[in-house]
């Protein structure tokens, strides 16, 4: 029994060093070597300043930008999270009605049933960087008006959306989507 105790402590120590120190350190070293941009959070810079991460959504509810999805944490990532409202939650119902109304009004969408679902429901992480291309197209009119775009600029914007649309990986995995921050950064360069 005494030898078992000593063995238990020894193995715990060895495994802690192996899986808790050597493994994450080696993985970090390799990751930093092969995928430095990815491993460090896919951070985007503009004029030398970090403007955000390609993978982390941010709040963009200005009239001049494409909107991200609703977020239960208001895009403050410490910590990430969701509303956790259940399917019969009165609060959720209220929010959904409100979001439908605001989106339809601000984007001049006459038919509220045409609004993509991700724009009226909050994401799981609260940091969803994507919306569907349909949701982006519905916002073009509002942005064009706010930025005084002419017809050709508007068409360029629609072309932009098509170019930035990400398709399912390997033709079948996941959904068609577009990265809102990348889209908004292109918008600023118009």
């Amino acid at each position: 029994m005494k030898t078992q105790t000593i063995t238990a402590l020894k193995i715990l120590l060895i495994m802690t060093v192996l899986t808790g120190i050597i493994y994450p350190l080696c993985m970090t070293g390799l990751a930093q070597l092969i995928f430095p941009y990815r491993a460090n959070g896919s951070l985007l810079k503009r004029d030398g300043k970090i403007i955000g991460s390609e993978l982390i959504g941010q709040k963009s509810d200005s009239i001049k930008y494409f909107w991200s999805r609703p977020s239960a944490i208001d895009y403050n990532p410490v910590p990430s999270g969701a509303s956790n409202f259940g399917p019969t939650s009165a609060q959720l119902k209220k929010q959904v009605v409100q979001r439908r109304k605001v989106f339809a009004e601000k984007n001049l969408v006459p038919d509220t049933t045409a609004i993509p679902k991700e724009m009226i429901f909050a994401s799981a992480s609260g940091l969803d960087p994507h919306i569907s291309p349909e949701a982006a197209l519905l916002q073009v009119e509002r942005i064009a008006r706010a930025r005084n775009f002419d017809i050709s600029q508007k068409q360029k914007l629609i072309k932009c959306i098509n170019e930035l649309t990400e398709y399912p990986q390997f033709f079948c995995l996941g959904e068609k989507r577009i990265n809102v921050l990348m889209l908004n950064l292109t918008l600023d360069n118009f």
């Binding site: 063995t7 715990l12 060895i14 993978l55 910590p79 409202f85 799981a124 990986q169």
Partner: protein, 561 residues
């Protein structure tokens, strides 16, 4: 259409690869030659040399169990202590304070029992050091513990007239070195390549397009994500778990996470077949599990795509990520609750009532639909004992399994293993529902509020770790209750399992005769399914009726809470 292709692809890959990895694991634990031996054989030898383990020496079931308990106890104490002291330890880049005692207790119990229930948010509670040498380590070790207990049980079933069921320390070492570590390394690198973070730098501070500040948490997340999936642990580096873009940035990582969390559990079924020298035995178990999995998935998909009369929408996106969509979210929720993983890529609290019910029912059956690594296999073998016992009663013969007599002792132990988690679920939920400390944490009202409590204790007892996360469980009451629930759900099963293993190992094998009850045909699959569903159904129909079933009916009437 796209949805259907993804679902079928997932199942096809699982069915194709499970037998292969199962055979590989059998070779690892039998000490035979395999392709990883030239790569990591030296590491195995070094570990034996430093720790003074003798490879040849085997243990009886009591010594083996003593090793399991001692090893887990030390691991738990260590994890508790480093959380209590994290402010004084290095690699605390965000200057986080020490963790409160009740939360530290809960987290220590949670990660050593392979539950990985999280009452905390990783981003603002735990330092990089604790995440590494505390959580990542237990991700490996609790998974390895589950696997080796299953291996010990397989040995007990397939050996005859012996006391010896293997050497715990050798099994643990081989499991980590040859199975968990290599797979984790491969998976980590794919995750990082897709965008998961793996760094030790400070949280990044960004100035957003609108000019506000956004603090972006970083850390060695990919390496922990890999093992949390492979070991059916499920504890996220970040609060949002596998929904967080830094843990699962693309649909590919999502697919691999789902695959990783099932493959070892599914493979172990074939490891068992290899030991028992009968592929048919393995397929009978695999098919039983697969039917339960597919049925759950079908119900859940139907429910999630059905119209919600309250929100006036079908297939709602609350608590789901755009890149995954509804189908992948539902699939993940079913897979993760089947497998006792508990990682989530969507928020189960916001699933439709019957999808939530499927998740809960998966937990309540005791995590046997593939189940946790190891625990799924020994869990379903417990049900096999009950099935052959009932079948034996029906025809008036002594029940047999793999040529060995199943007697009163084994059946008693099997019943303890089934009852222990059930008691936690029902009794603890009842307590939480009847005192203010239990009701204080609710995020939703009405039947959904009850579901939040029921889910929490089902998750604890099944060592799953997923949650209806609206429940604020970071209170003294919930941390301690759930902590105890997890320990009972884990060791209340492991102890009887080891006892069965020891008792079966001692028995003789009687040759197959015309009167032998076969455990490898469709009739047996059907019987096993019935026993699982009847035991599960009878035990849990009343609480499920009060929670998700009532909610579903009221939702159809448009009632809100």
């Amino acid at each position: 259409m796209n949805e259907a292709i993804q679902l079928i692809l997932f199942m096809a890959v699982l069915v194709a690869l499970a037998p292969i990895i199962g055979k590989f694991m059998a070779k690892v634990f039998m000490g035979e030659n395999h392709f990883m031996k030239p790569v990591f054989g030296w590491l195995e030898k070094i570990i034996y040399r430093i720790s003074g383990i003798s490879r040849e020496e085997e243990m009886n079931w009591k010594t083996y169990l003593y090793g399991v308990l001692l090893f887990n106890l030390f691991g738990m104490v260590f994890l508790f202590l480093i959380q209590m002291l994290q402010a004084y330890l290095p690699l605390n880049t965000e200057k986080l304070p020490n963790v409160p005692w009740h939360l530290a207790c809960n987290t220590a119990a949670s990660f050593t029992t392979n539950t990985n229930w999280q009452s905390y948010s990783g981003e603002n509670t735990l330092s990089y050091l604790v995440q590494m040498i505390g959580l990542t380590v237990q991700n490996f070790l609790s998974a390895a513990t589950g696997i080796v207990v299953a291996i010990a049980m397989i040995r007990g079933l397939t050996r005859k007239t012996t006391e010896k069921i293997g050497n715990f320390w050798v099994d643990i070492t081989r499991c980590v070195v040859y199975v968990l570590l290599p797979l984790s390394i491969v998976l980590t690198m794919i995750f990082v390549g897709q965008g998961a973070v793996q760094t030790f730098s400070h949280y990044a501070r960004a100035t957003t397009l609108l000019g506000t500040e956004q603090v972006i948490p970083l850390g060695p997340a990919a390496s922990q994500s890999a093992i949390k999936q492979l070991g059916t642990n499920g504890g996220g580096f970040f609060n949002a778990n596998a929904a967080h873009p830094f843990e699962s940035p693309t649909p590919l990582t999502n697919f691999l996470e789902m695959f990783a969390l099932l493959i070892i559990s599914a493979g172990l079924v074939f490891t068992y077949g290899y030991y028992a020298r009968s592929k048919r035995q393995a397929w009978a178990i695999f098919i039983t599990m697969f039917i339960l999995f597919a049925a759950g998935l079908a119900i859940s998909l139907w429910s999630e795509y059905s119209h919600n009369n309250v929100l006036n929408v079908s297939g709602n996106m609350e608590g789901k990520e755009t890149r995954f969509g509804v189908a992948n979210s539902v699939l993940f929720s079913v897979v993760t609750t089947d497998a006792s993983c508990g990682a989530v890529n969507c928020m189960h609290d916001s699933l439709s009532p019957l999808s939530g019910l499927v998740c809960m029912f998966n937990l309540m059956l005791g995590e046997i639909i593939f189940g946790g690594v190891g625990s799924g296999l020994y869990g379903i073998i417990i049900f096999i004992f009950i099935t052959v016992f009932i079948a034996g009663l029906m025809v008036g013969r002594t029940p047999e399994f793999l040529g060995k007599k199943v007697e009163a002792f084994e059946v008693k132990m099997a019943i303890i293993a089934v009852l222990a988690p059930s008691v936690v679920i029902k009794l603890f939920s009842a307590i939480a529902c009847s005192i203010p400390a239990g009701l204080a944490g609710l995020n939703n009202a009405g039947p959904h509020g009850f579901s939040e409590i029921l889910y929490a204790f089902s998750s604890a007892a099944g060592n799953n770790g997923s949650a209806f996360a609206g429940l604020n469980a970071n209170t003294v009451f919930y941390n301690l209750m759930i902590g105890f629930g997890m320990l009972i759900g884990r060791f209340g099963v492991i102890i009887p399992v080891m006892a069965i293993s020891g008792s079966m190992a001692r028995k003789k094998i009687t040759p197959v005769s015309a009167g032998t009850f076969k455990t490898d045909n469709w009739l047996f699959v059907l019987l096993l399914l019935s026993v699982i569903l009847i035991v599960g159904g009878l035990t849990f129909f009343p609480p499920l009726a009060l929670g998700p079933v009532v909610e579903h009916l009221l939702m159809n009437l448009g009632v809100t809470f």
